[in-house]
Symmetry: C2
Subunit: 334 residues, 2 copies
Amino acid sequence: MGARVTMRDVAQAVGMSPMTVSRALREDRTVNAKTRARVRQVADELGYVYDSTAQAFRTQKSGFVAVTLPSVNNANFAETFRALTNGLGAAGLQLLLGSTNYRVEREEELVRQLLTRNPEALVLTGGHHTDEMRKLVQARDLPVIEMWDLPEDPLGHVVGFSNGDAMAHIVNHLVATGRRKLAFVGASEGADMRGAVRRAGVVASARAHGLPEVAMIDAGPAPVSMRHGAAVIEAIGRNVAQYDALVCVSDPVAFGCLSAAQRMGLRVPDDLAITGFGHFEVAKVSNPQITTVNVQADDIGRQVVDLLQGIFDGEVSEPVRVDVGSALVVGETS
Amino acid sequence: MGARVTMRDVAQAVGMSPMTVSRALREDRTVNAKTRARVRQVADELGYVYDSTAQAFRTQKSGFVAVTLPSVNNANFAETFRALTNGLGAAGLQLLLGSTNYRVEREEELVRQLLTRNPEALVLTGGHHTDEMRKLVQARDLPVIEMWDLPEDPLGHVVGFSNGDAMAHIVNHLVATGRRKLAFVGASEGADMRGAVRRAGVVASARAHGLPEVAMIDAGPAPVSMRHGAAVIEAIGRNVAQYDALVCVSDPVAFGCLSAAQRMGLRVPDDLAITGFGHFEVAKVSNPQITTVNVQADDIGRQVVDLLQGIFDGEVSEPVRVDVGSALVVGETS
DNA sequence: TTGAAAGCGTTACCAC
DNA sequence: GTGGTAACGCTTTCAA
């Protein structure tokens, strides 16, 4: 393996200038069709591989879109990421992914790193950021989209839904079906803002209905999933039936609670209602099916793609705010 | 927002050369401590952001490691990805992710794209590649690791396990517990090599035990998940109990089958055993717990990180082959 | 239809 | 301890 093959090498081999090779490889029509074909062929023979780094450097366009997610190990976020990858990939853009592991502080460091790569846009999950992070982003002339939330004071564009409203759907439904003593099952109070906002949404909605204070069941530090839901309900035991309904922060947690409740002989929803969040696959396949809220993770991704395309095409001047909404999906656990 | 702030601007503001600024920002000890501090401060004041693109260009080191995955929307692959991100992030490396969407042909195009970014290593999921793809990779002097498989003819290093052996664990276990009429539930024959290898593993293992031919239950094109498993069993109906055991390509599929079987009143494992693959969370939390194979997705990620570190430190000369193995996890569905 | 020159921001290498 | 020079591979711009 000698030194890397560059356009100059290809040019030499074809007996033309690097400039012509550059144009030929980009299928520039001002280059003679025959020349183009020959250049292509010689490039292949020499094993030439285009260098995006050099291109990004010269043109000052990286071809990157930076994305932050709490975690890729969550079917909802993974679905949004998939939609982004596919949509932006078609436009020749490559995603640069950073995971915050559900910690707001981590976001700042992450974005700082991502920005050094000169992304052409920044897509953030959630609307809670440190002040430093806000400065960092606003100092740059860079399209920013916050998704999965509807922040009061957005950094730029927004594609999301109201976590509070979404939880209100659940509480309204539970109240309508006669439940009053609610318990919220979620992660410990801490750095996970999404969970905190959902919890607050349940509390506010319960108050509005005049329900007794919502009990808090702590399933451990974020991220919480199936096993944490199951473990915390096992720990509480049959005593958990003192509540009318468990309002869970997500479907996986709800499934864990459901499974544990069933194992200890509780009947769901007769003894206890259980609700989830996010319309994960497990909610539809579980037995009974879990009442949940659909937030359309893939739709969020697609809307972000559309918005970015509009931005890159110069069709978007004002900050855009898209509310994708959320919808109650009544299952068999309530 | 004027033109971007470069080292030259910082240098001018401090009254020194760009070279000194470069060194100062990299904490080069040959630069006076006082100077270093002043440079840092001025850089911050001016809102200077380091340009990795220029660095990557100049040093010919991108700081990227390219990774291909069938999909990030799979808890196992997501877990491996998380381990890679965390491990390599600590070493200052950024992951560049490409998804094949379970199609081998897609891999070639993807790798071609990823290579233009000058990654310092290439991590591929699976050991099945097109010939073009093999050439592409071998033409470059680039560390390559295939993971999640133990290919006969590897491209470079390998960190994985034998899908055939893993399925043999399942079949051995089923035979030992008296099952003989097996059906394999997986994706349609097609571009998903992993599924095909698992299917072949079951067939071979069943033959070795002298079992009747394994029935094939087609859950649709890859990727198949919970809902596909549920749907195909619903379509078959109670007739599915003609088999002793459903050997599923993954835990989510197994959970779908389990759920559908339960809904139609079949008793698992009395009427029918069901096994999964991958030790997903749902296998442990479901009710009954699903018999599965643990392949330690996070361990694969960590081993790849260790191997890459060894490679970058120049401690690895020969191609390495790590078999992380797989272990039967007996649940309550068999 | 093709080519020459210049430069994107950084750092290796040498000089002082 | 600090600075000048050159170069990484590509493309924009202008000229032929």
